[in-house]
Point group: C2
Chain length 474, copies 2
């Protein structure tokens, strides 16, 4: 029940969750008198959940809320009640389980008896409208939608703040790994300095398999698709877009700013060959699709691209479909979080933990106890994005060259002109007309490297676009 | 200010934190009317901290609260005020920084103006009295004292519950790694099935160095002591006691029970030789001091001992002073948490994150929002502890035998009688009278293995106590 007092629009009288609240504005201070009865009656009130989308993750949420209802209500001291489900399509075995809860119109999820809505329908437009409408109706929201947050997060969080409801999004980054809570709460005494993460399980699975099975990208991708580790249209994963969404979210809440998808420099893994992976292995490196976010006095450097990392680095040791995120802080130093970055149940576990968190806030009237973006909005500021061209690092370059006398002199000449000095050169194969030539550079500016490659790639002794992989030493 | 109404001892009128609360008992329901003014006045109230103990971790807390005051108050929206410090001794550079805050009597930390006390004095008796007294005075407590919690945790938590205050203990297990919050909050939708952890950095440093430097335990321990990685009296670490404390805490909050130090079967690493580590390496294993906790229908199996784990296991890849904890859940599957398990700043980072968590609860009047032991007390039950003798697993046995004909037959004969079948035998060295003989068994009962060894160790062809290392395959 919610009544708006006819006397003044700043007086609100609400009843819900066993609590009666009387709120009014006094001398420019918002003032609340709350009356609530603790004890049996108070605890018996269940929190009602409305679920939008019963696909992969949604089915997992249904499973957890059903099968783990006992442990959930034990931990909470009250029950979560999955009350209404709207889904465009639903697997028949899942449908059988929750037939009575399915509604024909998603608007029913926005009715008064729902306390928390859970948006798992994906996509951007409809999901955004639903989330904003939920918030306007004073419902807290849980979402796993990284694309939505990477593009409209700031807008959504601001609306939630002004409506005094929570938005849980642990499931939007790295599935079952509690990285959002770690950043927002566990590391809150720290300045976060950098984040390095393997945040896309599909890419990590493909790169791991390429090394293990000594197979090319296309073949491993096909196997991954057959085994369900990759989508039919894999571009979202293998082109780095999914990772960019996640890095936008992580860097925003780590550095107190608003990073959007387009702020993240993004490359995928399509051009990596087994030869590159093998060569990196010989040099003591692994190639991973890495999400990187650094902050310093020049601004925020945030990017997603294949990177060579030393085998001794914990991130180099993360194989297969696992995700791993290393957070470097000024006080806690490095902490690393590893787990299943995708999949129905691990992701649903994060969704339900968010639901539980928010349900506790409802019971304790402690909405917005943790700032939505880790910092209150008055401290969320727009910060400079560092152009990747101005970064200095080491590079692995793989040229495809005509095996001829003077070839190396011509290529190294261009590199030298651009102030790029060579650390090592390997030409593993001399048996054909076009052969690979691998070069490891010393520290060089990205801008110079790109300029050098644009000159070299036009030479008649060079075929194909030269592959560039950045070396991430720490 | 706190007034007790003269009319009835169940009526309490309190004022603090910008909030006025009127509480009374009505029809067996505790009923609260709260009045609070939000806005500037509300947010300006600082939370006062009283610190007991300014040693290694305490100095770190002082450093963080001072140097990171800005980011902390930004994240919180209000300030933490380190108001009083009591310490038996204090480093002069730290003292200079906080001279005005130092009090001569620890009782001053228990006065009305302190909101949260922080116990970092260590030890058990005085720390326990201080914590209980703080709680009685309605102050929330933060502690890093694993020995205290492993022995008196249940008593402390119950007293905190009945006094409606919080107890934060993130720093008690694995320093800067937010494992307590992960278990209590992030994984709360799951049944936790097992925990495996490297929870003592000193032991992990020693075992890593023994392998890298091919040196014996005693020599590496000496280096570790010189470098500050091990205490002068190392027994707390190397005999597994510290790890047992941590496993008692982790298993209690994971399984909803009360595990104490004496419930944890504990062995240390003193008997491990370089030869064992090398042999394990050849077989594809690492030897780690592992904390293990499993739950099943027979009860709780919780232990600390050296274990051989496959090199491919993420825990096998954690080297040096790092800690790592793998939590296996029914829904989120495996998640792994890695970081600095000790040290001034990483541990202090966990202490301050607890202070911030509790400060938020004070601001929102949401004390006990998360149950102290992860489950409300009515669900914390005493569970059966599984006797290690009834467990079945694989074993690595290193005998010291007289190199003689028939020796293997005699030893394998005893093993056979006890239903222990041998997977592999290696006798690397035949150059001296007493030589090592390594045996890997198939699955066998601990009881049978111990009985067999007690017979074998009495044989004239066997010298010294036979070393036993359990193999933890997953």
């Amino acid at each position: 029940m919610r009544f708006r007092s006819p006397l003044s629009d700043t007086i609100i009288f609400t009843s819900g969750n066993g609590e009666i609240k009387f709120e009014f504005k006094l001398c420019n201070l918002y003032t609340t008198i709350r009356y609530y009865a603790k004890g049996v009656m108070y605890n018996m009130k269940r929190i009602n959940i409305g679920l939008l989308g019963a696909g992969t993750v949604g089915s997992g949420v249904i499973k957890i809320l059903t099968e783990n209802a006992d442990i959930i209500s034990k931990r909470l001291g009250f029950e979560l009640n999955l009350k209404k489900i709207y889904s465009r399509s639903i697997r028949s075995d899942v449908k059988k389980r929750v037939e009575k809860l399915i509604v024909d119109d998603y608007k029913e999820l926005l009715e008064d008896d729902i306390d928390i809505t859970v948006e798992l329908i994906g996509g951007e437009e409809f999901a955004k409208d639903f989330v904003l409408e939920s918030i306007e109706k004073k419902k807290s929201v849980v979402t796993a939608n990284k694309a939505l947050l990477a593009n409209y997060g700031f807008e959504i969080f601001q609306k939630a703040f002004s409506n005094r409801v929570d938005v849980g999004y642990e499931a939007s980054v790295a599935g079952g790994i509690p990285i959002i809570k770690a950043i927002k709460e566990s590391l809150s005494a720290n300045n976060i300095l950098s984040i390095r993460g393997i945040v896309n399980g599909t890419c990590n699975y493909i790169l791991t398999k390429m090394l293990e099975d000594e197979k090319p990208f296309e073949e491993v991708l096909k196997t991954a698709q057959d085994e369900g580790f990759a989508e039919k249209d894999p571009s979202f994963d293998v082109d780095g877009i999914d990772s960019a969404h996640k890095m936008a979210i992580l860097s925003s809440i780590s550095f107190g700013t608003d990073i959007k998808e387009q702020d993240v420099y993004t490359e995928g893994i399509r051009d990596i060959t087994y030869m590159d992976i093998k060569f990196a292995d010989d040099l003591g490196y692994r190639i991973k699709l890495l999400g990187i976010a650094n902050t310093n006095d020049k601004g925020i450097d945030v990017r997603v691209h294949p990177a060579m990392i030393k085998k001794g680095d914990i991130l180099a040791k993360i194989d297969g479909a696992y995700n791993a995120i290393k957070v470097c802080c000024d006080m806690a130093e490095d902490t690393v979080y590893i787990g299943k970055g995708a999949g129905s149940l691990p992701t649903a576990s994060a969704v339900v933990s968010d639901i539980m968190d928010i349900a506790r806030n409802i019971k304790h009237s402690s909405h917005l106890r943790i700032p939505l973006m880790s910092f209150p909005f008055n401290y969320v500021t727009k910060k400079e994005i560092v152009d990747i061209n101005n970064l200095k690092m080491r590079y692995y370059l793989r040229f495809t060259v005509k095996d001829s006398a003077g070839m190396l002199s011509k290529i190294s000449g261009v590199l030298g002109e651009k102030n790029i000095s060579i650390k090592s050169v390997i030409q593993p194969n001399k048996d054909s007309q076009w052969v690979p030539l691998m070069v490891m550079t010393h520290d060089a500016y990205e801008k110079d490297v790109k300029e050098a490659l644009s000159i070299i790639d036009k030479m008649s002794i060079v075929k194909d676009k030269t592959l560039l992989i950045r070396v991430e030493d720490e």
